[in-house]
Every structure is written in structure tokens, then in C-alpha cells.
């Protein structure tokens, strides 16, 4: 009787995933990064609508009175008259709004000469940026896993071709491929989108980034399969008559999940940074759509609108650089740490 009672708590079977989860949750940095990224996700996807409902305008409305006379935007926490019409006198000078006109709150001020709400645009921009990152990772995983499996498992000519191609493409700066492809595919692909939920341009940028970054997971998958294909469980699966496809699907793919998880968390971050790069060059998502990249591009200028005091970027303050930068930093740092912690939780025997 007592023996049974003593045994009871030990008897609960604990599988590898639950152990990993336990290790992950007992790591303070892991939980912190998870919470931080969850916060970013919530703020980006739900924040825009919530703030819009609270202040009564959205990120697309333009308020002429949200800029000063010289078109510099108003600062943090300003109430501006909520009219879309600006009153001019006979000489074209801007008149103050009529007495008693309703005002609306701009939490982080206006975004530039157009007078849109910077805070809502930063929140909405997060949505587009995260979508780019996540879709790009999914696309590159979709390309990389089958190709990597073929290269790693079957070897031979397929492996040689895929590995060489990978080496060549990775020797060359990725951004050039991306810019070149984007410039030429923009007329065809950029209009694709789904309302405000997936802004137009996001699928294009995600597709291109996904295609051109698929070489990284490709190498990871290939390396993993190279070490696994001679393992005993693969031999035994062969012995009972499994086809190569079945071995990959049933026996090898589960082994790839941890690697892909660790890669995926970092890759979302990297792809978000790539989107910033494309937008700053001026070929990514359309400048009127808010992403963290286009918000930064407004202040730095693009090739079509050279920076350094030129036209539009003159009407932005350092704060307009700092808001999206801080958002990018929080999400990228938390994703990096998340990946690091995942790796530590999955492979606790590897130090560092």
C-alpha cells in the first residue's frame, strides 16, 4: 500500500517535449523574451484598433491642424482640431480653426507634413512588419525543407547542385538580389493584399524575402539530414521496407522541428530587418502603408527622395526615427533571445 503511494508521483510519464518546456519556463530570460514578444504582438495587432476607438480617429486620417505653419508636425500628447479642412484667409495664410471645434488626441504627435497619428501608425506598422517576418519564414521553410531533405537524404547530383547554388548565392550580398527582383516584380506583385489586415505589398515583400533567405534553413536541414541518414532508426525503417519518402516524413521530419524552431525565431527578426532595408532603399512596401520600415524611410529618405534635409525628411524630428527603432529593437531582441533560450532548452548539453 505504502509502496504504491510512494511510486505514484514518480510514475507520471514525462516526454521530451514536456521536459523541454519545463527547462524553457524555468529560464528567466526565456520567459522575459516570450512576454516581451507577446506584448509586441498584442500591441501591433490589437493596439491600433483599440487606440483608434479611444481617440476617435485612425492612422489614415490626415489632420491639417496637426502640423505647424512650416509643416513641422506637432509633438507628443497634443490635442489637435479634428477637422479635415484647413481654413485659409484671402492671402492663403492658415487661419486658426473656428472656436469650439472638436479636438482629438495625438499620443505621439503627428507623423509629418500630412498630419497623421504617429502612435497608431507605429502600432499598425508593427502589424505589417511582423506579418512580413512570419510569412517570409513560412515561405522559406516551405522551400527549404523539401529541397534540404532531397539534398541531405539522397545526396548525389541533387546535393551537389543545391549546395553549390547555396554557396554562390550566399557569397553575394543578399540585398542586391532582393532590390533587383523587387524593382521588376513591383508592378505585378505589389497590389496583392487583403484589406487593412494584410496591407498591399506585404505579401510581395514576404515572398521575395522568403525566397532569397531560404538558403539558410536549406543548409541547416541538409546538415541535419546528413548526420541522421545513417542513424540506426533509419536503417531499421529501411529494413522493414519503408520508402525514402516515408522515412523522411515519419522518422526524420520530427527531428528537424527543434532546429527549425530555433532558426524560425531568429529568422522572423532578420526578415523584419530586411524589410526595413528594402523600405529604406525605397523598393519595399508602398510608402503610404505603415510598416516600421516605411516609417523609418520617411525620416531617412530613399533613393527616390535622397535624405539629408531633402523635401519630406526635413519635417521629421529624431523622435520619428526613435519610435520605430525602439519597436524594432524590442521585437528583434526578444526574438533573438527567444531563439537562444529555445536552443538552450532543446539542447541543454550544449553550453554557451
Amino acid at each position: 500500500m505504502t509502496a504504491v503511494e510512494l511510486d505514484a508521483p514518480r510514475a507520471a510519464p514525462r516526454n521530451a517535449w514536456r521536459l523541454t518546456l519545463g527547462r524553457f519556463l524555468s529560464d528567466r530570460a526565456a520567459v522575459a523574451s516570450l512576454v516581451a514578444f507577446a506584448f509586441v504582438l498584442f500591441a501591433s495587432f490589437a493596439g491600433g484598433p483599440i487606440v483608434s476607438a479611444l481617440v476617435g480617429h485612425d492612422g489614415f486620417q490626415q489632420f491639417p491642424y496637426a502640423t505647424h505653419a512650416n509643416l513641422d508636425p506637432v509633438g507628443v500628447w497634443t490635442r489637435v482640431p479634428s477637422t479635415a479642412q484647413v481654413r485659409l484667409d484671402d492671402y492663403g495664410n492658415v487661419l486658426p480653426p473656428p472656436k469650439g471645434s472638436r479636438t482629438t488626441l495625438m499620443v505621439l504627435g503627428a507623423d509629418g507634413p500630412l498630419g497623421r497619428d504617429e502612435f497608431i501608425r507605429v502600432l499598425d506598422g508593427g502589424k505589417a512588419s511582423i506579418e512580413v517576418g512570419v510569412f517570409a519564414v513560412l515561405i522559406s521553410a516551405l522551400i527549404a525543407v523539401p529541397l534540404g531533405c532531397i539534398a541531405g537524404f539522397y545526396g548525389g547530383v541533387a546535393d551537389a547542385v543545391i549546395s553549390r547554388l547555396t554557396e554562390w548565392v550566399m557569397a553575394f550580398p543578399l540585398i542586391f538580389f532582393l532590390v533587383y527582383a523587387t524593382i521588376h516584380l513591383t508592378p505585378v506583385l505589389r497590389p496583392i493584399g487583403w484589406g487593412h489586415d494584410i496591407p498591399a505589398g506585404v505579401p510581395m515583400v514576404a515572398l521575395l524575402i522568403g525566397v532569397f533567405t531560404c538558403f539558410y534553413p536549406l543548409r541547416l536541414v541538409r546538415a541535419q539530414l546528413l548526420t541522421l541518414r545513417n542513424a540506426e532508426f533509419v536503417d531499421s525503417a529501411r529494413m522493414v521496407g519503408s520508402s525514402g519518402f516515408r522515412i523522411i516524413r515519419k522518422d526524420l521530419l520530427p527531428h528537424l522541428v527543434p532546429t527549425l524552431l530555433v532558426w524560425g525565431a531568429v529568422a522572423v527578426a532578420t526578415d523584419m530587418l530586411l524589410e526595413v532595408g528594402l523600405s529604406v532603399i525605397g523598393v519595399g512596401v508602398q510608402a503610404s502603408t505603415a510598416t516600421w520600415g516605411t516609417l523609418l524611410a520617411q525620416t531617412t529618405g530613399t533613393i527616390y527622395n535622397a535624405g539629408l534635409g531633402a523635401s519630406d525628411s526635413a519635417h521629421h524630428t529624431t523622435w520619428h526615427t526613435i519610435w520605430p527603432t525602439v519597436c524594432i529593437l524590442i521585437s528583434v531582441v526578444s526574438l533573438n533571445q527567444l531563439s537562444e533560450s529555445l536552443r538552450r532548452a532543446i539542447e541543454p548539453w550544449r553550453r554557451g
Partner: protein, 365 residues
């Protein structure tokens, strides 16, 4: 010796193969995207007929068989001649004049190499001591601070660094110029532009260094972070190795252990990483050039890709020239690193180098 020679021969062959592959890929990409080079021959903004487009393309030599163009390009390259570009082609009295690529390309190479080499030296000079300090005592306050800084550095886009440094040190504090590249040799002011008599174009070693300080730091900031993380890991690993224990057992001082036993081992990894990061570095250079108004290779290639904003056609000869130069820089840089590696590592040569994994976080700029 023989091993080193055969090793180098294989590396050179691999480099030539990479060069060939990159140029061929560029050709294929260009052809697959239906370009309209004929647009360059006529003043931008005027309406052209399909016949004129074809005629323009013919005059530029773009209607020849594709294999001929491909062979022609290599023939030019073997003569170290990049040919003529499409941009600025003008048709006068039925005679087409095009500008040679060289005069634009060579200064651009110089600007980019200045940023790359200076920035790389700066990154290595700062990251080695930081990485050594952090790696010696994992978990100490210094380590935590350095690791946090490195994490932030890895996650910051170079355009942001560039923008903030420009704003603070250039515009707000007026400490450093932000107006583009100054030549190392001082040239006289160009005549015939109606410039005031006392006008002095910037140039000379001091101006050159001043114009490059901010770009160097912007470039170095990202790589600094990556290399600090790597050296930290490498140092902390090798502190547990047998040879470090042996050195300690023999009574070597801590400083000597670091300088003679731990850091040389880390330097091998740094060298490997530098070789692999040359491509990445050129990608980062795009944003450094953008931030400071430099007109280097990256800027040139992106201008060639977009063409004149009003035509939106690709200046293919220019693009190909820049791509070839970039591929050459990657290949030659790798070759230099490989040679250095063979010299530094006594086990040298034919063995594949360890640690050929790239940090994904920075891999794709």
C-alpha cells in the same frame, strides 16, 4: 608547401567558379525580366514608338544573340575593360555616344573599400578586447553589460545607427562632416563652374579621415557586436581546454595565457568569419553609403538597377560591372583570408576550416 600550393590552387579555381556563376546568374535574371534598354537612347519623358525602342536597343547592341553578348562581356572583362553604360546614351545626327563605365566605377570602388577596410579594422580592434573581457568571466557584471550591448548592436539596423549618428554628431553637435566622401589627395577646384575664387574643395588626409569617421563607426557597430559575441564564446570555450590548463600549470601569468594561448585560437575563428562576412559587409555598406551620401559600389549598383527614376529600366552594363566587381571583392577577400588562415594555422591547409557556420542574425543584410 606543396599542400599550401594545391590548397590555394583549389581555392582560386573555386573563386573563378563563383565569379562565373554570379555573372551568369545576373545575365539570366536580367534576361528573364524583359528589359527595355532602348529607352535609354531617347530623352526621358518623351513618347517612343516600339520601332524606336527596338532601334535604340539595336544601337546599344542589346539585340545581338544572347550568347554573343555573354561572350562579348567576358572578352571585355579579360581586357579589364567594363565597356560603356546605357545611362546617358545620346543620339545625335544618327550617331550614338555612350559614356565609358570606368570613370564612374573606379572612384566608387575606392569609396566602398575605404569604408569596408577601415570599418573592419575598427570592428576587430574594439571587439577583441571586449570579447576577451566578457569571455573570461561569464556571468560577471562586465560580461552582462557587454553581452547586452552586443545583443542590441546585432539587432540594430545600420541605417538607424547611421541616421542617429548623423543627427547627433553631424547636425546637432557639428563635430563631424556628413556631406559625403572627401578624396585622400587634394584636387584643385573644377574650373568653369562659376565657383567663387576662394572656393576650396574638400580633400587631403585630414578631411578624408573626418569624412570617414562616422561611416566607419556605423559600419563597425553591427560587426563589432557580432564579433564580440563570437570571441566571447570562443574565449569561454578555450578556457576549459587542456592547453590552457597546461599553460597555467606551467605557471604562465593570466595575461600571457590570454595573449599567447586563448586569443590566437579565437583569432582563427575571427578570420574565418571575416572571410564569410565580406558579402554581408557589402550589403551593410549599402546603408552606410545611404546614410552619409557616399557614392560607392552599393549606391552605384542600386542606381543601375533602378535606372534613372524616370525610366525605370536597368542599366545592364553598369549593373554587370558593379556585380562583377563585388563578386571579385568577395572572391579576392576570401582568397586573402584563406591564405592568411593557411599561414596562421600550423595544421594548415587542406583540412576544412572549423566553425563554418554563420550567425543567422546578421547573415542576411
Amino acid at each position: 608547401m606543396k599542400r599550401i600550393v594545391s590548397f590555394l590552387a583549389r581555392r582560386i579555381a573555386g573563386g573563378v567558379l563563383t565569379l562565373w556563376a554570379i555573372v551568369t546568374l545576373t545575365f539570366l535574371m536580367y534576361w528573364s525580366l524583359s528589359p527595355e534598354p532602348g529607352r535609354f537612347v531617347y530623352p526621358f519623358g518623351i513618347k517612343v514608338t516600339p520601332y524606336q525602342l527596338h532601334d535604340g536597343a539595336r544601337r546599344l547592341g542589346a539585340t545581338r544573340p544572347k550568347l554573343t553578348q555573354y561572350g562579348d562581356w567576358w572578352w571585355h572583362l579579360l581586357h579589364a575593360d567594363f565597356g560603356h553604360m546605357y545611362t546617358g546614351a545620346t543620339l545625335n545626327d544618327n550617331v550614338l555616344t555612350t559614356a565609358p563605365i570606368g570613370p564612374q566605377l573606379y572612384p566608387a570602388i575606392r569609396e566602398t573599400l575605404c569604408i569596408l577596410i577601415g570599418g573592419a579594422v575598427l570592428a576587430v580592434l574594439i571587439s577583441v578586447p571586449l570579447g576577451a573581457i566578457a569571455g573570461r568571466r561569464i556571468g560577471s557584471t562586465a560580461d552582462k553589460l557587454i553581452s547586452l550591448g552586443a545583443l542590441v548592436g546585432v539587432c540594430t539596423h545600420p541605417i538607424v545607427t547611421g541616421k542617429l549618428l548623423t543627427q547627433w554628431f553631424g547636425i546637432d553637435l557639428h563635430w563631424l562632416p556628413i556631406g559625403g566622401y572627401c578624396t585622400f589627395v587634394k584636387h584643385a577646384a573644377p574650373a568653369g563652374l562659376g565657383l567663387p575664387a576662394n572656393y576650396q574643395p574638400c580633400g587631403g588626409p585630414v578631411d578624408w579621415a573626418q569624412s570617414l569617421i562616422l561611416p566607419w563607426f556605423t559600419f563597425a557597430f553591427l560587426f563589432l557586436a557580432i564579433y564580440t559575441r563570437m570571441i566571447r564564446a570562443s574565449v569561454s570555450e578555450s578556457l576549459h581546454e587542456d592547453y590552457v590548463r597546461t599553460a597555467r600549470a606551467k605557471g604562465a601569468r593570466e595575461r600571457r595565457v590570454m595573449a599567447r594561448h586563448v586569443l590566437p585560437n579565437a583569432s582563427l575563428r575571427v578570420l574565418t568569419m571575416i572571410g564569410m562576412d565580406i558579402g554581408t559587409a557589402l550589403g551593410v555598406a549599402v546603408f552606410v553609403e545611404f546614410s552619409y551620401g557616399f557614392f560607392g559600389l552599393a549606391r552605384l549598383s542600386i542606381n543601375a538597377m533602378t535606372g534613372d527614376p524616370s525610366v525605370e529600366a536597368t542599366d545592364f552594363p553598369m549593373l554587370l560591372a558593379v556585380v562583377t566587381v563585388i563578386a571579385l571583392i568577395v572572391v579576392i577577400g576570401n582568397l586573402v583570408v584563406d591564405t592568411l588562415y593557411a599561414v596562421v594555422d600550423p595544421r594548415t591547409g587542406a583540412v576544412d576550416r572549423p566553425g563554418r557556420t554563420k550567425e543567422i542574425a546578421a547573415g542576411v543584410m
